[in-house]
Amino acid sequence: MKNIQEIFSDLKEKFGDAVLELIASPPFESIITISPLQIADVCLFLRDNEELKFDSLVCLSGVDDANGKTIKNENGDSVIEGGTLSVYYHLESTGFRHKIILKVSAPREDPVVASVALIWRHADWHEREAYDLVGFKFLNHPDLRRILMPYDWEAGHPLRKDYKNPEFYMGMKVPY
């Protein structure tokens, strides 16, 4: 079993600049931030390394940080420009019983993140959900389609903070 500090220094030694920082916020678990295009390499290392063996991706979730500038567009709707969207990965090793949280932040205008769907197969649907609701583009994902919303949903990604629901969908009125 390794603590977060040891795991962080292992990663830092192996990947250098791709591993950004360790955010400690006791009593909650610490978070290691990774750069979005290297996350797949880091995860493959975390899964296969003999002393780490993170064999389980507990959860993968997309978050809208909403840390950009809020401006009004020509229709009078407030939209967010700039800032980041983040993906959190909760990992656990069922053998060693240690856990970590990884975080990647990608720019809101082009949120490209490397896919881990081929490292843990259940990340496939988690990443489709994050794509569907927040709008991440996962590189090398085998089947990046919407999973919850209808396939022909054109109004964007509902869990973004500046999302605006359409008036009609296929002739059905959407607002109350």
Binding site: M170, M172, K173
Partner: protein
């Protein structure tokens, strides 16, 4: 109803109007589409089970809309599901009836304001005969809804569908 009003003592003959006979036979065997959506469906299944016994009113779940007379919309209708429900309803043969069960299918329920994915009432897609309020309604409430529907069918006219 007057179905057994005029009965001859010996020959086993009953005189009734055709309307009464048709309405009585319709309301006594309302076969429902075997179809559930959310937590209301659990209550609907409890209503079908031995304790509340939907079958005593002639309600039997059928696995094809083509063999069913009634569809109980039991739960949250998402926009994605609404298109499917419309198709199922269109596949049912006339005469067909709809019970909207629970707040979600009546009006959107707790998702009325922020539910970006929820249809705010199934009556925006298909015509509803009886609304059963509740979140979810107890089996007794669903039985009451069924009795109300039976009442409606009992007063139907051959020339004009009222329910």
């Amino acid at each position: 109803m007057g179905l057994l009003d005029k009965q001859f003592a010996k020959e086993g003959i009953v005189i009734s109007s055709l309307e009464d006979l048709l309405n009585w036979s319709r309301l006594s065997s309302l076969w429902q589409v075997g179809f559930g959506l959310a937590c209301c469906a659990i209550e609907m299944m409890a209503t079908s089970a031995s304790h509340y016994d939907f079958d005593r009113f002639g309600v039997i779940p059928r696995n094809s809309p083509r063999q069913a007379d009634i569809i109980i919309i039991s739960g949250t209708v998402t926009l994605k599901m609404a298109t499917r429900i419309k198709r199922i309803y269109e596949q049912m043969a006339d005469p067909k009836y709809v019970i909207s069960m629970g707040s979600c299918s009546n009006c959107g329920g707790p998702y009325w304001e922020h539910g970006y994915h929820v249809l705010k009432g199934i009556d925006r897609v298909i015509p509803v005969d009886v609304y059963v309020p509740g979140c979810p309604p107890r089996p007794e409430a669903l039985l009451e809804g069924l009795l109300k529907l039976q009442e409606k069918i009992r007063n139907e006219s051959l020339v004009k569908k009222t329910a």
